[in-house]
Structures are given as structure tokens and as C-alpha cells.
């Protein structure tokens, strides 16, 4: 187990170096940041001085080494758009994105699993059919469209929920949270529902098909024959055995939710990292883009590691026969 985790960590470091390399290459191949930072009438000497002060006059490998060294200390330079340290900006925006992503993941899981179980057990009821048909919308409609529909219905027509922003936030230590104010909670509803739509339908369909599979197995039949209650059979035995793929998918989806909150954040003007990234793209704010890429890479690496460890916890069989093979 420990060897497995260590191996995973080493792989993670390698992945991060590759992501860092790609992110860093942006600095060098997207354009000359100096020309963006100085006024048009700056002299050649001004430009050279700026270049030297930013270390841009050094050879590529030296610059990359400096970049990695700085990045490991969380220093990604200064945003060209906002003129502030990128690390500060990301720390400021991280709470908004995480709250949104976690709300969406919780929604996806806690609505998706029950719905999946329901549609598996009552396979032929018209409610199940209706739910399954509706779920096609979640899978097929793009995120921004769902967001705009929700805004139209709940903000413009009904006027019950805000269409943009995060409401009032409260600082809990360094963490700005919208979960403690009414306006913050109200502002969270539409974006989190929008963001949850896809993972919700995915989890639901996955649980349903796994459940259908499991319900046919012998041990379920024997459990029923023993006269166990429906709840004990369905939730205690059947559902528990569907969870391995659900954990995998949820884990990957959480990474996806954080990374692809970009669209939802833009539609709802949610002041998280995704919005920061979109605006960085428009301004060619390379330090922000690079840091964002590295951070998302890190989040995926960590989530995958956690998911792998969770397998061991959930599935006893893996503890026996996963000694040397590794990898998933």
C-alpha cells in the first residue's frame, strides 16, 4: 500500500512537471509580455530594463528552473491585468470556486444516487421513464445554455433568485464564504444547479445500471430468501456494491467540476478562478493562465490519488490482489 502511494506520488510529480513545462512555455511562445506591460511610447532602453528585471534575458532552461523553483513556493509572478501577485489572486478566488464545486458535487451525489436507486428498483414506472428522459437533457445540453434558461426562468420571469454574483460574503479567517448569508445561499442555487446537472445525470445513470447488474446476482436473491427487509437488501447490500465505479466517476467529476466551472462562472459572473482565467485569456495575462493550469493539474493529481486510496477502503478484494500491479 505504501509502495503504491509512493509510486503514485512520483507519477504525480512527473505530471506536474509536464504541466508546468507547458504552462511555462506559454510565457515564451504566446508573445512578449514586455510589450503588453509598457506604454507604446516606451524606449528600447525601458524595454530592456524591464526584460532584465523580469529575468527574461536569461536562456530558456534557466528561466524554466527559476519558474519551477518559484512555483513550488507558490510564487507565480504578477498578474499583468490586475498588477497583483497571482498567488494572492488565486487564494482570493479559490473559496468561491470550491464552494460552488462542492455544492454542485454534493447535489450531484445526493440527488443522483437516490434517483439512480429509484429508477433501478422501479424500472417500469412512468416516473422512472420521465426521470430518465429528463436526464437526457442534462447529458446533452451545454452548460451555459442550462444556466441561461435557469436565469430566464428564476431571475427574469419569476424574479425569485439572483442572476449573477455571489451575494454577500463573510470572511472566516482567510476564507471568504457565501454560505453564512441568505443572499450568499440564494446566489449559490442557480450556478450550483447548473454545474450539478451533468454529474447528477451521470451518477444517476451509473448507479442505475450498476444496481440493475447487482440486483440480478445470487447473493441478492439469497438475501431476499433469508427474509431481509427491502431496505437492508437494496441499500445495505446492493447499493454498497455499486459504489466503486461511482467513487471513480465522482472523483474525476469533482476535478472536472472545478476545472470546467469556467463556463458556469462566466455565465453567472461567479467571482472564482474560472472567471479569473477567462479574463486572463482575453488580456493575454500569461502568469495567471500558467498558475491556473498548474493548480488544476495539481487538483487532478490529488483527486486521483485520493480516489485510488479510497478503492482500498471500499473494496476489500483490492487489498489482496493489488500488491504489485498498480495503476488504474
Amino acid at each position: 500500500m505504501i509502495a503504491f502511494v509512493v509510486r503514485r506520488l512520483l507519477q504525480g510529480v512527473f505530471v506536474m512537471l509536464v504541466v508546468g513545462f507547458i504552462a511555462f512555455s506559454l510565457f515564451n511562445f504566446v508573445g512578449d509580455p514586455v510589450s503588453l506591460m509598457l506604454p507604446p511610447e516606451a524606449t528600447q532602453a525601458d524595454r530592456q530594463e524591464m526584460r532584465v528585471s523580469l529575468g527574461l534575458d536569461k536562456p530558456f532552461h534557466v528561466q524554466f528552473a527559476t519558474f519551477v523553483a518559484n512555483a513550488t513556493q507558490g510564487n507565480f509572478g504578477i498578474s499583468l491585468r490586475l498588477g497583483r501577485p497571482v498567488s494572492t489572486l488565486l487564494v482570493e478566488r479559490l473559496p468561491a470556486t470550491l464552494e460552488l464545486a462542492i455544492a454542485a458535487a454534493v447535489l450531484g451525489l445526493f440527488v443522483g444516487i437516490p434517483l439512480g436507486v429509484f429508477t433501478a428498483l422501479k424500472r417500469d414506472s412512468w416516473t422512472s421513464r420521465a426521470i430518465l428522459t429528463t436526464s437526457l437533457i442534462g447529458v446533452s445540453l451545454p452548460n451555459f445554455l442550462i444556466g441561461i434558461f435557469l436565469i430566464l426562468i428564476f431571475a427574469v420571469w419569476l424574479g425569485v433568485l439572483p442572476s449573477f454574483g455571489r451575494g454577500d460574503t463573510v470572511m472566516v479567517g482567510p476564507w471568504s464564504t457565501g454560505l453564512l448569508t441568505t443572499s450568499g445561499l440564494r446566489a449559490l442555487i442557480l450556478p450550483s444547479v447548473t454545474l450539478a446537472f451533468f454529474p447528477l445525470t451521470l451518477v444517476m445513470r451509473l448507479v442505475r445500471s450498476e444496481m440493475l447488474e447487482v440486483l440480478r446476482t445470487d447473493y441478492i436473491k439469497f438475501a431476499r430468501a433469508r427474509g431481509l427487509t427491502d431496505n437492508a437488501v437494496n441499500f445495505g447490500h446492493a447499493l454498497k456494491n455499486t459504489l466503486v465505479p461511482v467513487i471513480t466517476i465522482t472523483g474525476l467529476q469533482l476535478g472536472g467540476i472545478i476545472a470546467f466551472a469556467i463556463i458556469t462562472e462566466t455565465v453567472f459572473q461567479w467571482p472564482g478562478m474560472g472567471l479569473l482565467f477567462i479574463q486572463a485569456v482575453q488580456f493575454a495575462d500569461i502568469p495567471v493562465m500558467a498558475a491556473y493550469l498548474c493548480l488544476i493539474g495539481l487538483i487532478f493529481v490529488v483527486i486521483n490519488l485520493v480516489v485510488d486510496i479510497l478503492y482500498y477502503v471500499v473494496d476489500p478484494r483490492l487489498r489482496l490482489d493489488r500488491g504489485g500491479t498498480g495503476g488504474h
Binding site: M37, L38, P39, E41, A42, D46, M50, S53, L54, G77, I78, R81, L82, G83, R84, P85, F110, V111, P114, L115, F118, I148, I151, L152, A155, V156, G159, V160, L161, P162, S163, F164, G165, R166, T182, S183, L185, R186, I189, T266, V267, F268, Q269, P271, L275, L276, I278, Q279
Partner: protein, 535 residues
């Protein structure tokens, strides 16, 4: 299933509580809070760090200049009450007494001298606001001299953009330079502000909101400059067009400075919303290569038809600016016949003439010039709207009179390098008179023969007229405004006759707001809060 039902019930139980919170919060007694939305968040609050509309929309309300503009866009005394030119190389400004900064400090000559140093610093992007100025010198507590490096008769127009910051505040907070990339940390002034303006910044959260409150001690209130009644303005950036419009429709914001033009009709139809419009100080035009003897991009039997005035007149007659207004611009433009528009110093109505749309006349002129069968030419345009659509429309219109035009639409990033090398025969461009709103700036760039000192920088067809060059040269040094305007008028008349370029229209800016808000569009697309009202 029980957990499902419980969850559903819990959600249902929460809804009324959440909906109850949706009722608009009762505004405090008589407080007028304007919720203002725009696409872009200001990059910085530093008045000298960036020359960007998104930033100046805030700083113009927070910081003030020595001179300013009234509603008719005429320069008026502001922080300076009077000025004179004791000699050719000096401008002397008398400062207004008792002007208070937001932190309570009183404006003195030291603040003006300091701000001039700051605006002229190497990393300042507002050096243009002090064009020609060498340095500012304190004469006494309320008198400042500007020593000129070179003459600038339009100095007052430029100075409207020179914003004054408090010296003691900047020194105390280490913000004496407009930008400091080397220090790798925030410049204090990029997130805080201390001006003399009618509004002061009380909260700044980048990409979330910027809150401005009325400045109680504003000098303008005593001097009768206050035309508004707002007590607070909440400036909200909303990037997505659809969300921004939805926020106005649902009443979550009161004012949109940049409604998407495709949604304006929808907004107009809403009984609770008012859409107003005003002219931007910008002109869209097509221009010709009149320099080369043969056509670089096109086929006309080895000749350059655009060297013939009759061909340029034919093009002007063939372009239906009214149709472009209706179809391409969705009504948001005003056909014009002069490269200066009302509001720019030097504009004169009698020089604002465009040749009438007349296809027959165009065909006749082409035949007279020897192009009865027309000719082929490429029309260059950048891939931005509306330029690209205008190029398509102009191509279709000219083909009706026999000029076969091939529109060549290239990315903006390669368009400018291309036309700046004069690698074009016929091109679409728009020119903004800029915030200085003075004729010289436009004429020097568009009409003067290209030269070494930056004259004719955007005269990319290399038209040359000795009389216009002479007039522009005189405008550069003439201090008498009436005489200067007369030179501008004569140059405009020459251009209208010789047609080195054919003007199409001036774009109009729409603003959308709830009916309870009243405001007028300013030519630089900025809302001045001290001029806005709410019922």
C-alpha cells in the same frame, strides 16, 4: 425512497424562505443607490497607470482635472479657475480655493506638481494628457506654471484627462510611481483612491464590485456643478451579455453602459426600461491609395483609378450610408460627411457634407474617367465588427456601379501591420477623435502628408495636399481659437472636395437603464455620476 422524499421536502421547505429574501431590500430613507453594470471591470483605480476606458469610467468620477467639459463638451474651468499664457513657453493656472480631497486634505499647488511628475513618469500611460509639457512648477500655494517643451495650443483639451492626486497620501502609502512591476506587489493606488471628485471609492473587490459614495465635501456642490442626486453607486462587472441583460430585465441592476446591440430592440420593448443613445467621437470611413501609379491589389489596365478624383467621387456616390445604418449598424449610426464630428474642437457644420447616394451619377463619373466597364480592386478590412460587415456591404454597393470589389478581411493583429506598410489599395478604418477631442490630433494623423515626425501616421493612402499641410502646420502653433477653427474648416473643405477618404458614419452608443434613472450619453461613453439622477 424515504431519503428521496425527505430531501425533496427539505428543498421545498427552503424555497419560500429563499424567495422571501428576494424582495428588494428597503432602501434607506432618501438614499439613491445606482446599481451600474458593465462588461469590464476596471483594471486599476490608478489615474495615471492605464489609458483604458474601463478604468477611466471609475477614475473620471473619483479624480478631477484642472479643466473639464460641460454637457456640450466645451472646456470649462474646474480645479483651475483661470489660466493665462505669460509667454510662449508657459501656461499659468490659478487653482480653486477650498477644494477638499476625499481624506479631508486641501488641494494645493504641490498636489498638481506632484501629479504632473507622476503622470510624466516612465511607466505612466497618461503622458498624452500632458502633451508638450516639460514639467510643472509651483509659483505659490494656488498657482502652478506648466513649462512647455513644445507648443501645444490644444493643451486645455489634453489637460481634461490629467487627473490630480493628493501628494501626502501617495507618499504616505508608497504610491508615488504609477506602476511598479519590480516590487512585485500591489501599488496602493491601484486599489485605493483619493481624489477631489464628486464620488469616493468605499469598497473595491476586483471582478466583484466597486462601490462609490457621494463625497460630502465636494467643492462642486457649493459651486452649483452638482446636477445629480445619487448617494451611492455600485459598479458591477458582468461579463456575459445574456446575464447582463437579464440582470437589467429582472431589476437587479439599474443601468447598463454597454447593452449588446442585438438586445436593444428587446430592451426597448420592455415598459420598465429606457434606452438612450448618443454619438461617439469616432468616424468610420473608406480610404484610397492615391500614391501609386498602378493598382497594387486589383486590375485596371496598369493604372490606378483612385488617382482620378471622378472615380473617388463615384465611390462616394455609390455608397448608401443610410442602408449601412439600417442594416449593418441596426440603426446605431449617423451618416456623416466630415472626419470631425460635433463635439470635436474645429468641427464646422458647413464642412460636413457627403455626396448624395446616386448610382446613375456614379456610373456617369466612372464612364467619364474612362472606366465605363469598371475595374477590379481589393478592399482591406480588419476582422472586427462593424468594419468587416461594412466592407462586405461596400463591396456589394460598388459592384452595382461596376467596380468589382473583393473584400479581404484579415485578423486585426495582422491588419494594422499590413496597412501601416501601405500594403493596400483601398481600406476600411475608423478613427476616434479621442478624449482630447481636438481637430489637430485627427487632421495631423489623417490628412497631413506622411512625414518623419509622425505626421500623416494614418494617412495610409499617402494623399498629399500642400495647402492642407500648411493649415495643419498653422494649427499646431496658432493660439487664437477662432483662427485655429477657421484653418480646420478650410482643411475639412479641401478634404470634402478632394476625397482622400469617404466618410460613412459616426457610431452611436446605446445605454440602457430602468425608467427611474435619467442620464445623457457622453461622447466618450462614460457616465458621470454627478450628472445622473434617480427617482
Amino acid at each position: 425512497m424515504r431519503p428521496v422524499r425527505a430531501l425533496a421536502l427539505a428543498i421545498l421547505a427552503c424555497l419560500p424562505a429563499l424567495a422571501a429574501g428576494a424582495a428588494p431590500q428597503a432602501a434607506g430613507e432618501g438614499r439613491k443607490v445606482l446599481r451600474y453594470a458593465s462588461q469590464d471591470d476596471p483594471q486599476t483605480l490608478d489615474p495615471h497607470a492605464a489609458n483604458l476606458l474601463s478604468s477611466s469610467r471609475v477614475t473620471a468620477n473619483v479624480y478631477e482635472a484642472l479643466v473639464w467639459r460641460d454637457k456640450a463638451w466645451k472646456v470649462i474651468p474646474w480645479l483651475a479657475t483661470s489660466w493665462s499664457q505669460p509667454d510662449g513657453r508657459t501656461w499659468r493656472f490659478k487653482l480653486r480655493e477650498g477644494v477638499k480631497f476625499h481624506d479631508g486634505a486641501t488641494l494645493t499647488a504641490d498636489d498638481v506638481v506632484f501629479s504632473a511628475e507622476r503622470a510624466l513618469a516612465p511607466l505612466s500611460q497618461m503622458r498624452v494628457a500632458l502633451q508638450g509639457v516639460e514639467r510643472a512648477v509651483k509659483v505659490d500655494a494656488l498657482t502652478v506654471d506648466f513649462a512647455m517643451r513644445e507648443a501645444n495650443p490644444a493643451l486645455l483639451a489634453h489637460l481634461t484627462q490629467f487627473r490630480i492626486m493628493n501628494k501626502a497620501w501617495a507618499v504616505k502609502n508608497g504610491a508615488t510611481a504609477p506602476q511598479d512591476y519590480k516590487a512585485r506587489e500591489d501599488t496602493f493606488a491601484s486599489r485605493h483612491a483619493n481624489g477631489t471628485g464628486a464620488f469616493m471609492v468605499t469598497e473595491r473587490q476586483p471582478d466583484v464590485r466597486t462601490v462609490l459614495a457621494a463625497h460630502k465635501d465636494w467643492w462642486g456642490r457649493r459651486a452649483g456643478m452638482d446636477e445629480g442626486n445619487l448617494s451611492e453607486v455600485v459598479m458591477l462587472p458582468i461579463k456575459s451579455n445574456a446575464t447582463r441583460v437579464a440582470a437589467l430585465l429582472s431589476g437587479e441592476v439599474d443601468f447598463l453602459i454597454d447593452p449588446p446591440t442585438q438586445d436593444v430592440a428587446r430592451l426597448r420593448a420592455d415598459p420598465g426600461i429606457r434606452v438612450i443613445e448618443g454619438g461617439e467621437l469616432r468616424v468610420q470611413y473608406v480610404a484610397f491609395d492615391v500614391f501609386r501609379d498602378d493598382l497594387l491589389h486589383g486590375k485596371a489596365n496598369g493604372k490606378n483609378p483612385f488617382k482620378d478624383l471622378r472615380v473617388r467621387q463615384a465611390v462616394a456616390h455609390a455608397i448608401d450610408a443610410e442602408a449601412i445604418r439600417a442594416k449593418v449598424m441596426r440603426g446605431f449610426s449617423k451618416p456623416v460627411g466630415s472626419i470631425l464630428v460635433p463635439g470635436v474642437q474645429g468641427y464646422s457644420a458647413d464642412a460636413d457634407r457627403r455626396l448624395p447616394y446616386d448610382r446613375e451619377k456614379a456610373r456617369k463619373l466612372l464612364a467619364e474617367a474612362g472606366y465605363a466597364d469598371g475595374f477590379e480592386v481589393t478592399l482591406d478590412a480588419g476582422n472586427v465588427q462593424p468594419a468587416a460587415d461594412i466592407a462586405q456591404a461596400v463591396a456589394a454597393m460598388l459592384s452595382q456601379v461596376g467596380i468589382r470589389v473583393r473584400p479581404n478581411i484579415v485578423p486585426q493583429a495582422s491588419y494594422f501591420p499590413k496597412i501601416e506598410k501601405h500594403d493596400t489599395s483601398f481600406y476600411v478604418l475608423s478613427w476616434g477623435a479621442g478624449v482630447t477631442a481636438d481637430a489637430l490630433y485627427t487632421m495631423q494623423a489623417l490628412l497631413h502628408t506622411p512625414g518623419k515626425a509622425g505626421e500623416g501616421d494614418f494617412n495610409l493612402g499617402r494623399w498629399s495636399n500642400p495647402r492642407v499641410d500648411e493649415l495643419v502646420g498653422r494649427m499646431r502653433v496658432e493660439r487664437d481659437m477662432a483662427r485655429r477653427d477657421a484653418y480646420a474648416r478650410e482643411a475639412l473643405l479641401v478634404a470634402a472636395r478632394e476625397l482622400p477618404l469617404v466618410t460613412i458614419h459616426q457610431p452611436l452608443i446605446p445605454w440602457a437603464m430602468r425608467k427611474k434613472v435619467s442620464a445623457t450619453v457622453s461622447p466618450v461613453n462614460t457616465l458621470y455620476f454627478y450628472r445622473a439622477r434617480m427617482d
